[in-house]
Symmetry: C2
Subunit: 129 residues, 2 copies
């Protein structure tokens, strides 16, 4: 199975879902190297577009994502990764999931989750995974 | 709340999750117009990168995705859309979810779902949503 990295300039989106609860935790991007590293290490590793380098999720916080299962979509251009999420949450803002806000039809965002940890304690000021 | 369309040349990825079962059904992309149409119509509408135009999911098959809730991530550059999925499946290959294959650590893909409909009957030869 060859992933199609061409549609997105060398990247594929990877959806991370909690294998136990089904909660969608975050979405990141992988290049071929990040995907290979995720497969070989068993820990989710993205390509950080902002820092232009590999980013092992949890490298700073310890909140790593252990791969339970990887699924690929029909067009081989997107991944769904079922994980065991170590720690209280994946979001650098202190939530279990990065999708902690609901958007109304009018476009207003409302926080719908409780903070599960203090991001300043975990990340300091330079928060990123 | 303003979505950040800049990181991906005018698009944001949108993860579609079944609101009832929690199953991740597919991932698509929205430009600003597709997002606005999704919000105003209540039916998930993507921007088709291959056809370079808006694509109301289900326009051909009738398998539309009714929006139950929209969530946005911390960086406002990804969406999670909880839906009621009308019909037996979203995938043009005949499965409930587009993520119907599991990838082994060696990179081999194995089908892990049952077909829920015959894609040739629903789509004919020119299959696409």
């Amino acid at each position: 199975m060859e992933l199609d990295f061409k549609k997105l300039d060398g990247l594929v989106p990877a959806v991370v879902q909690d294998a136990r609860t089904g909660e969608v935790l975050m979405l990141g991007f992988m290049n071929a190297e990040a995907y290979a590293t995720t497969q070989s290490s068993g820990e989710v590793t993205f390509f950080s577009r902002s820092r232009n380098k590999l980013w092992r999720k949890g490298e700073q916080s310890g909140h790593v994502l252990r791969v339970q299962e990887i699924r690929v979509d029909c067009d081989v251009d997107a991944l769904l990764i079922l994980v065991e999420a170590v720690g209280p949450g994946v979001c650098h803002e202190g939530y279990r999931s990065c999708f902690f806000r609901q958007v109304s039809q009018a476009g207003d965002a409302t926080i719908i989750a409780e903070r599960t940890f203090d991001p300043n304690t975990v990340y300091g000021k330079d928060a990123r995974g």
